[in-house]
């Protein structure tokens, strides 16, 4: 594998990110355009959007930000998106991106990072546990309201 770099996303990464995240029967173009506006174009240190690049290809991305006083919590880092292309998984790309985003969030002034993952997404849950995350102080609750 040639050299993989972890860098900030730039506006011209949009198409590659949409392709990495593409799922059958889903069009998330509008969602990604909005995310790019908020996390890339805005260029704020408390909003972090990183990509993993090898040559001209994007192999993964991770997005997070500092959120303050949500549910009464003091400022902390939230990682809310992570993807590594199927072909390059288990090669350490996710670990490098997560390590880098934790550094960025720490520089932005927080000492805790949180995430939320679907209970059936064993792969991603296992990854975050491998990165040292544990069940935290805030428990997600939900109810159908239909």
């Amino acid at each position: 594998m040639s050299k993989i770099t972890i860098r900030d996303a730039i506006p011209s990464d949009l198409e590659a990110i949409i392709a990495l995240d593409r799922m059958p029967n889903e069009d998330k173009t509008g969602y990604w355009q909005s995310i790019f506006q908020h996390y890339v174009v805005a260029g704020r240190p408390d909003r972090v959007f990183l990509v993993a690049q090898e040559g001209k290809s994007l192999l993964g991305f991770i997005i997070g930000e500092v959120r303050a006083w949500e549910f009464g919590s003091p400022p902390c880092g939230w990682v809310f998106a992570l993807r590594v292309s199927h072909t390059t998984r288990e090669g350490g790309i996710g670990t490098r991106m997560f390590t880098e985003i934790c550094e960025r969030l720490k520089k932005a002034g927080v000492d805790t990072v949180r995430t939320m993952v679907d209970i059936d997404n064993k792969l991603t849950l296992s990854f975050f546990r491998g990165m040292g995350l544990r069940t935290g102080r805030y428990v997600e609750l939900e109810k159908r309201i239909d």
Binding site: E90, I119, K122, L125, S126, R129, G130, G132, T135
Partner: protein, 148 residues
Amino acid sequence: MKLNKASLFALISVLELARDPERQLSTSDIADKYGISSHHLAKVMRNLVHQGVVQAMRGVGGGYRFAGNVNRTTLLDIIQLFETLESELDLPHWNKAAEPVVSELHSVTSEIDTVTRAILDTITLATVLKNTRAAGERVAEPSPPGRK
């Protein structure tokens, strides 16, 4: 949650073997190291071999070797070879009047079981080994001078 002895012995031996998948260890090697019953451990090892988690090596220097993938095998994968993780309400007899309460309690224990399984099913052997190595290194680090 209370894990039974067989599950605990299985986790201890699988983690010990997975620490170095090339290494072969006998039942007594593992039992002596952890101070557990080799008789009970032998039964556990037979089940682990039967399930393909470890491999029995014959001949001189034979023993057991880890046969799985540390990045894919979870704590739940090992535990559920020896027990089911379902909470039980110890209420053998009750009147019809108790049924709504019992039903609600079953719903609560089911929620607990779902979370328990989700936790155990996402902690891989690799994660446990990494954390135990890190804990061992912290213990081995000398205290800074002048501090107790």
